[in-house]
């Protein structure tokens, strides 16, 4: 009985860790990606199409490659080794942030470009400052922006390659649902692996349902 509770406590910690690591990475990606996406959507400049092409490539960035690059940078013999970040949740947040940001930028560009191009000018004429304009534009584009958040969170909470490489799948600090599924499968504990898979789907569903409720309630 005690052992059962211990197992459940570990599983709860793994679910919570998945939520926190991917949630934090998504939040950071939104803070960085939305302003960048907004700026790209609103401006014309040389190389814009090339930049858009790069961002669209970033939408399909292979997590395992991003993980490998972050590993090379953070590992003790690497350029940022002194930070001591390798095999910590922070390293996982960084890798997932790098994966999520192009998605947030890409979806932000698409949803801001869908707005009337004169809206921002109108807001300025009506006396809104820069920050206020950005905020009101974001409110107008929120349907698309919430899709951006859902897509980014959904992608990084379910990736395994980067988390495995930079986190190291440490039982009590960096094991998340996806890496736990790999471990349990490798150990032949297929039932446990399947149960964790259901939890991952459940986590994804709860987060997306919450965001969808916000999205639909906020519908203009």
């Amino acid at each position: 009985m005690g052992e059962l509770f211990a197992v459940e406590a570990t599983t709860a910690a793994i679910v919570l860790r998945s939520l926190v690591v991917s949630g934090l990475a998504t939040l950071l990606a939104v803070l960085v990606g939305v302003p960048i996406g907004y700026a790209i959507a609103r401006r014309q400049f040389r190389g814009r199409t090339l930049l858009l092409g790069l961002i669209n490539t970033g939408l399909g960035m292979p997590p395992v490659v991003v993980g490998l690059v972050v590993w090379v940078l953070l590992v003790r013999s690497g350029p940022f080794g002194d930070l001591g970040l390798i095999y910590t949740p922070a390293a996982m947040v960084l890798a997932q942030f790098l994966l999520a940001t192009p998605m947030v930028i890409g979806f932000t560009i698409a949803s801001v470009q869908a707005l009337s191009p004169r809206l921002a000018d109108l807001l300025t004429v009506l006396g809104a400052g820069r920050v206020r304009t950005l905020w009101l534009m974001a409110m107008e584009a929120r349907l698309g922006l919430l899709v951006a958040i859902m897509a980014a969170f959904g992608a990084i909470v379910s990736e395994v390659g980067a988390s495995m490489i930079v986190g190291g799948n440490l039982e009590r600090s960096t094991r998340v649902l996806t890496t736990a599924i790999v471990t349990e499968t490798s150990r032949g504990e297929v039932e446990r692996a399947l149960a964790l898979g259901l939890m991952l789907l459940g986590l994804s569903f709860s987060v997306n349902l919450t965001l969808t409720i916000i999205q639909q309630r906020a519908r203009p």
């Binding site: 690591v21 939040l27 590992v75 003790r76 080794g81 095999y87 910590t88 922070a90 190291g168 032949g188």
Partner: protein, 276 residues
């Protein structure tokens, strides 16, 4: 109003996330222990590491890779200690001065497993090399192919059997750990070589049976080392040495021998450090 509730939600989320932020990971000393998948997949380190962490107040980050990768991590100063089972490969790193404080920890043995029907007739083999020749003739072999100690042992056996790898038609590499490789071999009705510990802990889910065992060349020896701080200044030597001393201490040696012994009726690992 909606704007405000959205803002409140975002604020609450931020606070929740920041309070869980991974910043407090540095409060206790920690070491990186690169090791083999077999010690992880058998569950041995899940028993030993928490004990060490509690007793010494040093966290151990166990990175389970093949012995080859573990040795390379040590050689580039990316680990503080290693627990591996590839004696030939280990020697080079000891000679180059990357590894010090080497201690024999334990042994078990490798066994050759295969489908119950044993189409290659490996059960009639008189030596490990003989068994490998039989499998090369009439069996499918699934290899780890991941530079692990088990992979090194497999290659040594092919060499001892005087079989050129390229001449074996039905040999595949998984590039994965022991547990995953056993699953593949099981599904493909193939032969593979495994440490006894991992096989025993997965046995109830496998149809594979032991077709050959007991040859002296199948001995599987685990050593622990610290990474030399004179060569890799960032290595946390004192903490890693504490882990080495922990592993070879009499009571931990006893725990290694007793690990899962009641469950399987035999030891998965045999302690070797006592008396040295």
């Amino acid at each position: 109003m909606r704007t405000r509730s959205l803002l409140t939600f975002a604020g609450a989320l931020t606070i929740a996330l920041v309070s869980f932020a991974p910043g407090n990971a540095q409060s206790r000393p920690s070491i990186i222990l690169a090791t083999t998948t077999s010690t992880q997949d058998s569950g041995l380190l899940d028993v030993l590491v928490p004990r060490f962490e509690k007793e010494r107040g040093i966290d151990v980050k166990v990175i389970a890779v093949g012995s080859g990768a573990a040795l390379r991590m040590a050689g580039s100063g990316n680990a503080d200690g290693i627990l591996v089972h590839a004696p030939d490969a280990e020697r080079q790193y000891v000679e180059s001065g990357d590894l010090i404080d080497g201690r024999l920890v334990m042994h078990n043995d490798f066994v050759i497993v295969g489908p119950p029907a044993d189409p290659a007739g490996a059960r009639q083999a008189t030596s490990a090399a003989d068994a490998m020749r039989a499998i090369a003739r009439r069996g499918v072999f699934v290899s780890r192919g991941d530079n692990s100690g088990t992979h090194a042992q497999e290659l040594a056996l092919w060499e001892a059997a005087k079989i050129d790898l390229t001449s074996i038609a039905r040999r595949e590499e998984t590039g994965q750990g022991m547990g995953a490789t056993l699953n593949v071999a099981d599904q493909k009705s193939a032969y593979t070589i495994t440490d006894r510990g991992t096989y025993l802990s997965l046995q109830k889910r496998l149809r594979l049976i032991i077709v050959f065992q007991g040859d002296p060349t199948l001995r599987n020896v685990y050593h622990v080392y610290t990474v030399n701080p004179a060569k890799h200044p960032k290595a946390k030597h004192a903490e890693a040495l504490a882990f080495v001393e922990f592993l070879v201490s009499p009571r931990v040696q006893e725990a290694i021998g007793a690990f899962k012994r009641d469950l399987y009726g035999q030891s998965l690992f045999f302690p070797d450090a006592s008396g040295r």
